[in-house]
Amino acid sequence: MLLHRIGLTATAALGVAALVVGTTVAEKKYDTGATDTEIKIGNTNPYSGPASAYGTIGKTITAFFNKVNAEGGINGRKVNFISYDDGYSPPKTVEQARKLVESDEVLFLFNTLGTPPNTAIQKYMNSKKVPQLFVATGATKWGDHKDFPWTMGWQPTYQAEGHIYAKYLLEHHPQGKIGILYQNDDYGKDYVKGLKDGLVGKMPIVAELPYETTDPTVDSQIVSLKASGADVFFNVTTPKFAAQAIKKSAEIGWKPIHLLNNVSQSVGGVLQPAGLENSKGILSSYYLKDPTDPQWKDDAAYKDWVAFMEKYYPEGDRTSTFPVYGYTASQTVVQVLKQCGDELTRANVMKQAANLKDLSLGMLLPGVKINTSATDWYPIKQMQMQQFDGQRWIPIGPILSGELSGT
């Protein structure tokens, strides 16, 4: 009888001990959207409407997570990536973001695309304390960790790029007269601001002409730019209009110093349709490897990317830099999740995102690294100036950092 009692007590004690030990050793913490087996990530992308060209980024990310899951997931957990179409319309983005957070109950939003769409949901995401991580836009305001501690950008900001071009101009062509063609929206205007801030008035801007995405061509603007006497051309256009601008400039015999924003620097996607001869001498900057640039043909990381595209996203356009963008951004978030380990809370996701040290990823240009800290919420700040020689982009000068006096 006594033995029986002792046995019972012992078992009970063992049970309690096991419980205590179990909880202290495992230390798993989850917020909504994360479990032992799954991490739910949400996203909005414009799969329809005038901005649908960017939808390929969302498709690349979906393919990437298929690859991650096929290879065992992250720390043993599969990623459930849910991406909805917002047609680049802010009210729709609000609806889809709320659906992801409240109905699908994701852990966080990743790489949501577009400045107005992200602006529309920024307050909501921060009030709900759900990370709005690595947003796919270059607007400068996404690094404001004091007012919006749940929002972080990823790519170099448009203003930073504008600064870099300004620096280059002041150094190499300080006597020039600048003509600007820009898309009449947040992205275009941000670039122009960056250039102007960087120039601090030291060079005259003789023409500043906008265009709308509904404009059939930008020919009229190019004609005006030539007539303005500008000999430096700051070209802030998306791929279709960039190609038109390059082609028309060549046709009317206008040969300025041509600075092209990096959104449109793809050899296969822009320069080739515009005419490789016409594109000779164009300056740009970038932080990712251009998949159509022959110099990466035998690069190991490039070959990995091609293999990924062939297996998981075969219908993707391998001449476009958008899939490279999606691929590299996905690799970044995977690193963040790996660093989270078993503590998959939203707060920890933001903490680890602000804790990336010298992260080197395959398709980033050599020398460009991802760095974040508690006071620096701009993961990629470095860019390489490059010039097109008629066949490929030749880097010129060192890797530059687009400084921004903290937002």
Binding site: S52, D215, I252
Partner: protein, 294 residues
């Protein structure tokens, strides 16, 4: 006043205007047939151009692809009318317009799904050397204007001097009487659709070398094409062509020379001017005034 710039903008405007004139012809064509504007016209033209591009990608020489595409588009237009629109023949007019919108959505989405959104080069049979003004009007622009004028002539001859043309005009003007006269009204409408689709295909293949081929290429152009057709008078193909050139020139000149507003409100100004024209001449510059019987 920078006269040289003005001349340049006018020339550039004529070049772009050629694009609008071409698509405006297709708009007028469909209006003649069905008394309405087809929102999906631009998308159909874009899809036809993609078909041409695909044929050339598979090895067809340019002119073979050109002719084939026109034929396919003609049949396609006819088929769409017979298959999609026949069941809703008696539905109210506004419902028809919703179906146009649906077609737009379907064709645009299909094109993006099949050929994705990166821009594609489209060849031109006219070459790109400069024709007028040091590159302002290239050989291709000139060729496009030429083809548009030829199409215009063909349409004029068709409607004025052939029996089928007459039958089509009758069917559109007064379907009841036309039926009594023995005209197969349904097939006249279908024929109109086919012809409009064919003209649209030509327009698309002429436009693509300039603006680059991609699924969203026609949206802005269709807008201008509508405006051009309306300001020219929807019953007048010649008016549509003149309207197209006018819109191109006005848009460029207004955008360049109107101070303060011109730069950023180019499209708005162009449309305001068009509406102003309509207020003065409610049926367009060359259209027939509508007489209504109470």
């Amino acid at each position: 006043m920078n006269w040289e710039l003005l001349l340049h903008q006018v020339l550039a405007g004529l070049a772009t205007g050629g694009i609008y004139a071409c698509i405006a012809l297709a708009v007028v064509m469909i209006y003649q047939a069905i008394d309405h504007l087809n929102f999906a016209q631009g998308e159909m033209a874009m899809f036809s151009t993609f078909i041409a591009w695909q044929l050339m990608n598979w090895g067809c020489p340019y002119w073979v692809a050109f002719v084939l595409t026109i034929a396919i588009s003609f049949v396609g237009g006819l088929a769409i009318e017979r298959i999609v629109f026949k069941p809703i023949h008696d539905a109210p007019v506004l419902s028809h317009i919703v179906v146009f919108i649906a077609l737009f959505s379907i064709i645009n989405s299909l094109a993006g799904w099949i050929w994705d959104y990166t821009i594609k080069e489209f060849p031109t049979p006219f070459g790109t050397r400069s024709l007028i003004g040091d590159g302002l009007i290239s050989a291709h622009d000139g060729g496009m204007i030429g083809v548009t004028l030829v199409l215009l002539l063909l349409l004029y001859l068709f409607f004025r001097h052939t029996r089928i043309g007459l039958a089509m005009r009758a069917a559109a003007a007064n379907p009841e009487s036309a039926r009594l006269a023995g005209i197969r009204v349904g097939w006249m409408v279908a024929l109109g659709w086919g012809m409009a689709a064919a003209i649209g295909a030509v327009a698309g293949m002429l436009i693509a070398p300039v603006v680059f081929l991609e699924p969203n290429m026609m949206l802005g152009i269709l807008l201008y094409g509508f405006a051009a057709a309306v300001v020219g008078g929807l019953t007048s193909p010649g008016g549509a062509v003149i309207g197209g050139f006018s819109v191109g020139v006005i848009e460029n000149v207004a955008g360049t020379f109107i101070p303060y507003f011109g730069r950023e409100l180019k499209l708005t100004i162009a449309l305001v001017l068009i509406v102003a024209v309509l207020l003065v001449k409610p049926s367009g510059l060359f259209g027939r005034t509508v007489v209504s019987r109470v």
